[in-house]
Each structure stands twice: as structure tokens, then as C-alpha cells.
Amino acid sequence: MIAIDDAKVQRVIADFPILARPTSRGKRLVYLDSAATSQKPNVVIDAIDRYYREYNANIHRGVYEIAARATDEFEAARAKVARFINAATQEVIWTRNATEAINLVAYSWGLQNLGPDDVILTSELEHHSNLVPWQLVAQKTGASLRFIPADDRGELVLDRLDTLLEGVKLLAITHVSNTLGTIVPLERIIPKARAAGATILVDGAQAIPHLAVDMRALDVDFYAFSGHKMLGPTGIGVLYGKRAILEAMPPFLAGGDMIRHVAYDRSSFNDLPWKFEAGTSNIADAIGLGAAVEYLESLGMDWVRSHEQELLAYAFERLAPLAPRGLAIYGPHDPERASGVISFNFADIHAHDMASILDTEGVCIRAGHHCTMPLMEKMGWSATARASLYVYNTRADVDALIEGLEKAARVFKL
């Protein structure tokens, strides 16, 4: 196994003030729920704080000094995100989160382009956020839904992809499974979807915090993600869209800032990206996300990925001896094919009971269906426990998880 760079991780940990705060039981906080939301480094908290303390003003059209600074910082944050994903600034639209980004495409592009004979192809791995919007659009337009199946390990079965792609107007697919960590092989799927003439949307909420993602290289039409899972604040997310397709789309939300000229009976709309940003934006959190992106760049996304892979390999190694006692780990179970997610159940200990017992030791995990109810039902799991890793996690955190599992085994008298 490659050695984990402990000195670098310790420097990272020092950047996250919450990790220095013990729990009410006096335990060290062992945060293993970054797939739900990540912790925030000082640079992000400070960037938000600075906006409110030093230059809080509304953006665009303000002529005074602090309004100009607010506009500059807000648009600079957009440029940072665009650089981070290798896109043009006009292609980066602020939303509340990945869910809102997907809904924007569903209601703007979907209602305009989908009809009764059209097929939306998605997968059995999807989070509700990339499934339910398409169910609603299908109901409104008469389009039908089709699914790329997942196997027992939570990897997509691509043998019949050519057949599945026949007549597909939209491919809406996740990049990384939030429940199992599966990295979907987009490089095998997207060229075929392109050849079939499909428009392509990728839900990148679980990918962009962990992998280097390049919009030009991926060749997708839309890519949606949330700021709060990538060290940024809640309430800010991004829709990336290719310029030509965004230009052809009608607005989603209407109001101030998204217009060019308004008369009482009609309006014309602003240029990209503002055409899709009605009303006052979440200025502070956009600036915070810009700081988060810079922080990730300073760590290096290659380092982020290799750190998580090393930690995941260590976790699997430590968990393996528990298998004979009833520990079941779901998903690809391979650090090369998965992001830092460990989805599991231990004997007859229900995932919620597991989460409660781990909580008494300061270990934070998530339990339940992880907003993937159809996948859970297909797999026959009523709930799973999920530990997820990120830049500030260490082998000591994995060890704390293992000790917590041993405690749960004692409490349940396994």
C-alpha cells in the first residue's frame, strides 16, 4: 500500500475548525459523512465572513465602490469554478445545488424538447434528484424512461448499451453513485450516446469533490453539482451547460437580472449565464464556493483522489476480518472503481441502530436509503450504513470506525 502523507493530512485537518471541537461526550469528532455534506475550511468561512463584513452590496448595476467589489468577487468566483472544470464562464450558471441544476434542465430544456415518442435513458444507480425530475417531465410530455441496469456490486451493465440507446433523446446519468461510490465509466458511455444523437446530462454531485473533472474532455451537454459537498457552503450549486444548447433554451425562473428589456407585454432576456439567474443570487456563498475551489486546487485533485484511494484500501483491509462475523460491504469494493464510500451492514444490527451507537463514540455516518429507494429495493436492502471519506480523513478515523463496529457488536451481543 502507498504510504499516506500524514504531514499533509495534518496540515489539512488544521484548516477545518470544526474538527478541533470535541462532541458533547468529549469524543474526538470523526466525520465520515462527507457524501452528505463536507466540512468547510477556514478560507471558505473567512471568504463569506469578509463579504458580509467588508463589502456586502447587491451585484450588477451598482455604481458605488463596495457594489463594484461585490460584483467583481462574485464573477471572479464564477471564473474560478469555470477554470476548475475547464469550461467558459458563460457556461457556468449558479443554482442552489445539483438538484436545482437538474430541475432547470428538466423544465427548460426538457419541456421544450421532449415529446411522446422520446426516451429518457438513465440508470438504476440514480439519486432521487436525477430520477424524480425526469419522472415529472415524462408525465408532462409523454416521454418514457429507460434504465441502464446495475449488477449486484452496483456497477452498470453495459453489454446492451447500444440497444438501450436506440431512440434515446436524453441520457441523464450519475458520475458517481452516492450510495455505493461506484464510478460510472462515462468514457465508455458518452461516445456511444453521442453517436446515438442523445443530449447528455451528468449528475456530478458526488464526483466533482473527489475527481478531476474536465468538461471539454468529458463532452457532456450538462453537468450538475453542489458546492457544499466540495468544501463550499450550502445553498450554492452549478449547472454547466454547453453554450449553444444554453442559448437555445428558454429561461427557467423569470424576474430581475435575467432580462435585457422589459415592456408591459413582453421581455427580452439577458446574455449567458445571467439569463438563468433570476433574482438576487446567493452572492456570499458563490464567493465561498470560489474559495473552496481554490483550496481544492491548492491540494491538487490528483492528491485528493490518491489520498481517498489509499484510505479506502486501508479501510477495506481493516474491515475484511469482520466479514465472518456478518459484516457485508456493498458496492464495487475496489478503490480503483469507487470513490471514498463504504456502504455496509453488520449482522442483524440495523443501520440506524449502528449510526446511533457510532454517534456515542463521536463517529458520524449516515444510515438509510440515501435517497436511492429504487436501488435499495432492487438490491433487497431496507437500509445501509454509509461511511464516506474526504480530504481531512485519516487512518485514525478508519480505526475509530472499526472500534465503533466492535462496540456495536458488544451492545447487540453478537
Binding site: 442483524d348 440506524h352 446511533s356 451507537i357 454517534d359 438509510g368 431496507s382 451481543k413
Partner: protein, 129 residues
């Protein structure tokens, strides 16, 4: 919270009482806790306004399943009208100490389903009444 998992709770979890289905149920209800997916179904055999027999089924954590199991033992022979008015105290008395606020809905799911069956419509969460 780990104090909660005492022997009799684990026993009700692993060997639930009155578990399964009735051949003929005069009242029934089923519900899920949408936050976590816990699911409970209650079937009642009501004779002369009294709960003569009860079965429950479902899946979920030890708190939800053990609470439901204990509740079925508490309500056998109880007038249906009384069951419809039960408060969360009956569950808290059954399980004894220590349900944290984050797990209260797990404990109350069985009671909510029972009350839904008794009144013939979806009942509110007992802890919010």
C-alpha cells in the same frame, strides 16, 4: 443512547411478539418513516369494540420493531376507542429510558400506525400532539 439496547429490547427485536398477519383483519394500517424507510403494518381483529387480536409486520431498526412488538402486547383486550387515544407515554413506559430526540420517530412509528388503524385514517406523529 447505547443504554437503550437492553436485553429485553434486543429480545423483542429478534423475537417480535404478535408478528405476521391475521387471516381476517377488521382494521389495518401501514406507514413508513420517510426519513429512514422504517415500515410497519398493523392488523387488528376487533370484536365488540375491543381489540381481540393483533399482528404487526414490517422492517426497520431495533427501536421501531421492538417498540411495535411491545405495543402489540399492551393493546390486546383494549377497547378500540382507547387505542385511538393512546399517547406516546405508553411507548415510553414500554421501552423505559433513553430515546434520543433523533430516534423518537422510530419509537413512535408503531403507535402512529396503530392509531391510524383504530381511527381509520392517517394519524399524526404521537410526539407532536
Amino acid at each position: 443512547m447505547d443504554d437503550f439496547y437492553r436485553d429485553f429490547i434486543l429480545d423483542h427485536y429478534r423475537n417480535p411478539r404478535n408478528h405476521g398477519h391475521l387471516e381476517r383483519a377488521s382494521a389495518s394500517a401501514e406507514d413508513v418513516n420517510p426519513l429512514c424507510g422504517d415500515r410497519i403494518r398493523m392488523e387488528l381483529d376487533v370484536r365488540g369494540g375491543v381489540i381481540a387480536d393483533v399482528r404487526f409486520s414490517g422492517q426497520g431498526c431495533a427501536i421501531s420493531q421492538a417498540s411495535a412488538s411491545m405495543l402489540t402486547e399492551s393493546i390486546k383486550g383494549m377497547p378500540l376507542e382507547e387505542a385511538a387515544k393512546l399517547s406516546k407515554e405508553i411507548v415510553l413506559e414500554n421501552v423505559g429510558i433513553g430515546i434520543s430526540p433523533t430516534r423518537m420517530k422510530c419509537a413512535m412509528l408503531g403507535l402512529r400506525v396503530l392509531k391510524s388503524a383504530a381511527i381509520g385514517e392517517i394519524a399524526g406523529w404521537p410526539d407532536e400532539e
